[in-house]
């Protein structure tokens, strides 16, 4: 990575910090619920702050590393914070903090299990972000996979069990493929798995066929998490089944872990030149386009709100894949930035859906007539994020779409732009009706001249639920306007992309 990485224990601490809240939960007496859970929140907040402390160094272009354990040379458990990983870590720890706060107000039974596994998954996925080579990434990725199972099954209804089992089956199969991919990488990469700045594989140690196989193995392995179309089956079941903060994190972070894996593979394992050489990026791009369009179409047909959001997540994650597959400066920029943008928007949307579900118990959009009058703040936040999703300026959604469009032109393939516009239209088609139903319909409006209900801020829920929603909704706009603020995605991503597309 950039320059010589400094030794630093901060990544290790960052990974171990969530375990503190685990200890708190297991050791503290079970009566003091409030205290324990707020301590959990403090734990995740502390993690976020710790990650934040690394920001100046990263902005100066340093990177930090620490070796945990080593099997043989080239096969070692090493944490390295480079810009790309740091970018992911910052985003996820922030979102995680908010989600933890939210779930204190949301989760009402089996808190211990839920929060313990929240903490575990946070530490594992931080490990993914900080991992210094593919070996480490794979280890933390698998741990994250199995750790997030209890989050999905939490409700323990029949749907939840079914969804969680489906998730597990998909993930185990993917894990096997990925395992093969990593071993093959070790074998064909000449006995090392490191993340090279311009990729660590090359055609002069391995044959073209081998590398192509390897790439597709990686794509299949990570594609399950990243919900590329033929492999997306678990997503629409898991999201509605999981409790809302969990589903926010699912589509905000855990899907991104797959995408992040693909980013690592493309940028640091294969490298741009090799990708161009092998021509495999075309397949990636085609799959991504198919996914974008089809997912939006599926989303149209869903009446269950969270299910519709889930399908839209499938589509949106493929934006990232598409942006990477363009192999152009702006494309990469847009894709990488969409990683955060989509996390914020979709996180907020899921949290809003959670509030509605919690307060009114309504799952289906058709039941939500006039919901905007009962919960104005929630629904306003929802509408902001929905508009951002569609890509209306000034919002983060607009930024990433714009950059992706530029990338498409740079790549000389305007067809991508058509795809983007189609999906924008489709997402308008499936988001606007929700807003319409929420604000311009109300109970009994079919009778002529029935009075529209008054806005009532009284029955908005407590701060623990509202703060995350509001913060996210505001960020959606702010990040869309002041793009270059240090710490916001652009400042980091531009570094990464600048290095890769020297």
């Amino acid at each position: 990575m950039q320059g010589k990485p400094f030794f630093s224990v901060i990544p290790l601490i960052g990974i171990l910090l969530p375990w503190v809240s685990l200890l708190i939960l297991t050791l503290m007496p079970s009566r003091s619920r409030k205290a324990r859970l707020s301590l959990c929140f403090l734990g995740s907040a502390a993690t976020f702050v710790l990650v934040l402390t690394l920001l100046p160094g990263i902005l100066d272009g340093h990177s930090y590393t620490i070796k945990i354990a080593s099997v043989v040379q080239g096969l070692e458990l090493r944490l390295t914070v480079d810009t790309l990983g740091y970018y992911f870590a910052l985003m996820l720890s922030f979102l995680w903090m908010l989600a933890t706060l939210y779930s204190i107000g949301y989760i009402d039974h089996k808190e211990n299990r839920f929060f313990i596994f929240m903490a575990l998954v946070e530490s594992f996925i931080l490990g993914c972000a900080f991992s210094g080579n593919m070996f480490t990434y794979f280890i933390f990725y698998e741990l994250m996979t199995f750790g997030s199972y209890p989050l999905i099954v939490h409700e323990e209804t029949r749907e939840a069990r079914y969804a969680a089992t489906k998730y597990l089956v998909y993930s185990i199969a993917a894990g096997a493929v990925l395992f093969f991919a990593v071993v093959g990488n070790y074998f064909w990469g000449g006995g090392q798995l490191g993340f090279g700045q311009y990729g660590s594989l090359s055609l002069d140690i391995a044959s073209r066929a081998a590398l192509t196989t390897l790439f597709f193995a990686y794509l299949a392995g990570f594609g399950v998490k990243a919900a590329i179309m033929p492999l997306h089956g678990w997503v629409p079941d898991a999201h509605p089944a999981a409790p809302s903060p969990a589903s926010a994190l699912l589509s905000g972070v855990i899907l991104k872990a797959g995408a992040f894996g693909i980013i690592r593979v493309v940028f640091n394992i294969f490298g741009i030149e090799l990708m161009r050489e092998l021509k495999v990026f075309i397949v990636m791009a085609v799959l991504a386009c198919i996914t974008i369009v089809l997912a939006s179409l599926f989303a149209l047909t869903q009446d269950n709100l969270k299910r519709r959001l889930a399908y839209s997540s499938i589509g949106q994650v493929s934006y990232i894949i598409l942006g990477i597959a363009m192999l152009t400066h702006d494309g990469g920029l847009g894709g990488l930035m969409h990683l955060t943008h989509h996390a914020i928007m979709k996180g907020c949307l899921f949290l809003c859906a959670g509030v509605i579900l919690l307060k009114t118990g309504k799952r289906n959009i058709s039941e939500m007539r006039g919901i905007g009058y009962q919960y104005p703040i929630t629904m306003i936040a929802f509408s902001v994020c929905a508009l951002a999703m569609i890509g209306t300026p000034p919002s983060v959604g607009f930024i990433s779409k714009w950059l992706l469009g530029n990338g498409a032109l740079e790549a000389g393939l305007p067809v991508y732009i058509i795809i983007l516009l189609t999906s924008a239209l489709l997402s308008a088609a499936y988001f606007l009706p929700i807003i319409y139903v929420a604000f311009f319909r109300w109970e009994g409006d079919e009778i002529e001249g029935s009075a529209r209900p008054k806005l009532s801020f009284t029955n908005e829920s407590d701060y623990r639920l509202m703060v995350p929603i509001i913060v996210l909704a505001i960020l959606v706009v702010i990040m869309g306007i002041w793009i270059t603020v240090p710490g916001f995605p652009y400042s980091l991503v531009s570094k990464v992309i600048g290095v890769i597309f020297h």
Binding site: V71, L77, I139, L143, R161, I172, F179, V183, F187
Partner: protein, 488 residues
Amino acid sequence: MAIFMITLPLLGAVLVSIVGYLKPHWLPWGALVPLLASGVLGCMLIGRIPSDGYISYHLGNWSVPLGIELRVDYLALFLMLLICALGLLALIFSRRYIVKEVSAGRMTAYYVLILLLSGGLMGFVASGDIFNLFVFMEIVALSSYGLVAISANSRAVRAALRYLLMGAPASIIILLGIALLYMATGSLNMAELAGRIGQSGYREILIASFVLFVVGFGVKAALFPLHLWLPDAHSIAPSPVSALLSGLVVEVSIFGILRIAYSVFTPHVGNLTSATSNALAVLAAAGVIFGGVMALLQKDLKLMLAYSTISHVGYIFLGLTAFNAEGLTGAMYHMLDHGLAKACMFLCAGSFIYIKGFRRIEDLKGAWRQMPWTCFAFGLAAFSLVGIPPTAGFISKWYLILGNVKAGNWVYVVVLLLGSLLGAFYCFRILYYMFFQPGKEGAWTPRPADVPPSMLIPIWILAVATVFFGLFSGLVIPSLLKAAGLLI
């Protein structure tokens, strides 16, 4: 020093039998001493082995062709330490547990047999003389027949008799193989044999003897079509015994094949063995799949574990047949991993039997409310068995697959991955029952009421060891790689 590692448990067995006659209640403690001693000796031995070879110890001061030679390389020492550790833990576990399954009049025999078993295993592993190998294999075999039958109810005796009726012909076959080998070369020492096989004129006889060895050891190691005895024997024996049987005895029998295939019929004589080794690989692959599927179908916990042993035997064989250092390392490390994990799971099954007396998988629903510690240890061991990072199973699978990739036989790579999928399914089914299923009313006490610590500690040592050897496999792997590289 290695010699004392072997002979102390044998001597200890005799003394323990006397102790059992005079002071029966000293038995559990007295039995620990010899194994502890040999374990300490083994640890002292670690540094002394030259990393590019093996300690050879000439018994009775006779030069090689005359006397018997012990050869302790890192692979052997590795297994000997594993044997000491598992034996000790099983003994500690037995102190409280065994009264459930063994009557007072058989207690002495139980402890003595476990000591003899461990001593025999260590002698087997360390031996550098092919006939001495047979002798210690017989000690192992006889003591394991006895241990399977020790609870002396009709099921156990039937299982033991079936085991014996398959095991004894196997030993005879091996004896015949030794005869053919001696006939063709006129020597019994492994190193010398390896030299003489090269220029021996009797190819057919050599091939025949190799086949006989493979068949004989294959029965003892439950290679796929010869596994018929294993499910009954391993599931009906008392739990610590099943832990030792499927954690050690099977592995060590595979190690016997390893010795024969690599130290006696060296791969330089490869064309001599390649055909049989291909057949071996096919059988092993079949075993992986068969064991996995059968394990998925079982209703009885210990029976399921037994079938998964068959599947994992296939894994280890696939490592051997890769014929390169990585595969061999993977096989050895998988012996370690499977030994630890499977022993831990059998002990957990034992503690379920100890608390509730049942062994059906359905009954485990919601078990973790009452027995959290046992259930979590079981979960760790299951993770290691499936090969989820960062457990030892992951490292071993890594090297197994790497070896097969290097050898370029892709079919077996696919088989290994399929096997781990199956493993994941049959392990996670149990974890799902334990943790995410509500138990039947009154099946479990709401408050934790787990097994006594003297049973929990061995379980947890094993469970933690699986994770430890996954994270810090760097301590073992390099020396294993080097030792394996020497054999190739």
